[in-house]
Symmetry: C2
Subunit: 119 residues, 2 copies
Amino acid sequence: MPEPVNLAAALATFTDHWAQRKIAEVNDYEIKLAKVQGEFVWHKHDDTDEPFLVISGRLTIQLRDGDVALGPGELYVVPRGVEHCPRADEETAILLVEPKGTVNTGDAAGDRTVGVREL
Amino acid sequence: MPEPVNLAAALATFTDHWAQRKIAEVNDYEIKLAKVQGEFVWHKHDDTDEPFLVISGRLTIQLRDGDVALGPGELYVVPRGVEHCPRADEETAILLVEPKGTVNTGDAAGDRTVGVREL
């Protein structure tokens, strides 16, 4: 049987930015945590919508049409195929739910591409 | 384009217990909120794992092998096929992520069966 996960305790186990940690599986999806700070890369996911739930801090999801600003307890789903570039001006913790195998950089594979890690 | 969702604001729009509200879609999944209090019914979902993330309050997920106790910021995934009965001794807000069409009472359809509502 799976163990319960305390999000704060899980977040306390790592310090690096933009590398996602898997905390649970739901069918063929993964629930993941990440700490982010600074600007990521512009990219899109042609095969999946991408939800961002801010746990702490502030996340700006830059879209070609304008920015979406999220604080703690706020959720935004970037639709599949929509270019976006997350940015966090302070260290920010986010929760993600995505199909297994989703690449963090979508169609923009490069030096920011990092696989999902175990806690 | 979807709008961002503030979980607290979304929770403030309803008061009834155990009726799930859809706040976002991710592919063929729904992200939902519910307020719960009291005891639900024993049931299982043969076709899907079921994650519970506690936003506020305290949730006890009763399993045949023992209880899982969750507070704010704690997550537990009930595996598919596992009988469970959620209970909340105080009003508790939870976030769920499930495939569209998942029935809240799983295999125990009855007077506690309620479809997912729009916010």
